[in-house]
C-alpha cells in the first residue's frame, strides 16, 4: 500500500506534526527520512498511515508545521508529490 512521507525541518517538528495529526484522527509515525529522499543529509519525516493528504496538509499548514517536501512511497521507490 502506498504511503505519503512528509519530510520535516527537524525531529521535533516531525513529532509535533505527528501529534497534531493524531489529535485530528489521522495516523502517522515519525521515521528517519529515507536516504533516497533526504535532501540535505539527516532528517526526520512523518509517514502518513491513514487519512487524506490534502486534509493533513491543510491542518499542518494552520499550525505552521507544513512539510518541506512530500513523497509517495510505492513498491518501485519514491516520487515527489506537489499538491
Amino acid at each position: 500500500m502506498p504511503y505519503y512521507i512528509l519530510t520535516c525541518r527537524s525531529l521535533t517538528y516531525a513529532q509535533r506534526a505527528r501529534e497534531v495529526l493524531s489529535a485530528a484522527g489521522f495516523r502517522g509515525a515519525v521515521i528517519k527520512t529515507p536516504g533516497a529522499i533526504a535532501a540535505s543529509g539527516c532528517g526526520y519525516s512523518v509517514k502518513l498511515l491513514r487519512g487524506r493528504l490534502e486534509d493533513a496538509l491543510a491542518l499542518l499548514g494552520k499550525q505552521g508545521l507544513g512539510p518541506r517536501k512530500i513523497f509517495l512511497e510505492a513498491a518501485d521507490g519514491y516520487r515527489e508529490v506537489r499538491p
Partner: protein, 372 residues
Amino acid sequence: MIYFDAAATTLQKPPQVAEAVLRAMKSLGSPGRGGHRYAMEAAEAVYNCRKKAAAMFSAPGPENVIFTFNATHGLNIAVRSLAERGDRVVISAWEHNAVLRPLTAAGANIAVARDRAFCPEETAESFRRELDKGARACFVNMVSNVSGYVLPVYEIAALCRERGVPLAVDASQAAGTMEIDWERLGAAFVAMPGHKGLYGPQGTGLLIVGAGAQPVLYGGTGSDSALPEMPDFLPDRLEAGTHNTAGIAGLSAALDWVRGREGRIAGLERELVSLAARGLESIPGAEVYRDKTGESQGGVLSFNLSGRDPEELAERLGRRGFALRAGLHCAPLAHKSLGTFPAGTVRLSFSAFNRPDEVSRLVWTVRDEAGL
C-alpha cells in the same frame, strides 16, 4: 548530615528521578541519531520532557525549550545572542557570575540597577532609571542566590517591553517554587537549572527561548547534516552534540513530581526561612539578612556571626553535621549589594525534603557556637 544547600543543588530527589535515569541509561540511544528503535525511543523521551517544560513555563511550543547543561549554559547563549562589545546592558545588583562573567567576556558596558535588598519598589525604580538611559539588553535574576531576595521581575519585564529592550531572566532559584510564565514575561530568554528546585539530575538545564538566538556550541544536530552551518530552526540551532538523554529522562520524571507541588514547596521553604531567621536573630551577635515581611524572600537565607569568618563557621557547622555553603556564592555583586563583600555570609537554602526540626537543630548548634 542535614543538607541545607539546595541553592547549589538539591541533594535529595524524588526516587522516580534516579529510576528514570537508570532506565534511560539501560535502554535509550541518542535522539535524532538514526531511525532504529533505541534512537526513536530516546527521541520520544526527550520530546516528552520538552512538552512538559513548555506547558509548565508557557513556552509557545516544545521547540522553544532548549536542553542545556545548567543555567549558566543557557545564560551564555542569552549573552551571546543579546550583547556585543560596547553594548550597554542593564543588570540587577543581584546577578550571579553566570551573567557577570559572560557579559564581561563579551565586552559589554554593564550598568547595574543598584538597590537595597527586599525593596521591590526601589528595584523597579532603579531599573526604570537605567533603562531610560538606553539599553541593548537587560538581565535579571528572579531570586538572589545570596539573600533570597525575590526581585519584581514581572514589573521589570513590563519596563523592558515598553522600551523594546530584550530581557533575559535567570530563574535559577525560582524554578520549581515560583510562577515562571514565559508568555507573560515577554522575555527573550529564561534560563534555569534542572538540578535545583526542579529536582532533576545535575548536568541538566532548560532555556526557554524565542526567535533570534545564537548558538555557543556548533556541531552535529541530526538535521540538515549536509550543510556546514547550524540549522536556523529551534531546538536544533542551540543543541549541538549528543544530548544528556539519561539526565533529560530524569528531569522529565522530576517535572512530573514538581508540577502541582510548587505552592506547597514554596510554603514549606518560607516556613523554614522564617523559623531559621527568628531563631538566629535571637542569638546575640547574629546578623540575619532577610525580609521581615517575608513577601519578597525565597527559600534562601544568609547570616553572619559577629567576629566570625563565615567560611570558618560553615566548616565548624559542617563538622557538626550541617551541609551549608559560605563565602561569596559565586555572586560578588550580590554581596556588594548586601554589604557583605568580601568575606560573604553563611547561607542556608532549603528544599521540599527539609523539616522544621532540622532547622531547630541548626539554630541550637549556632547558638552553641556563639558560646551561649
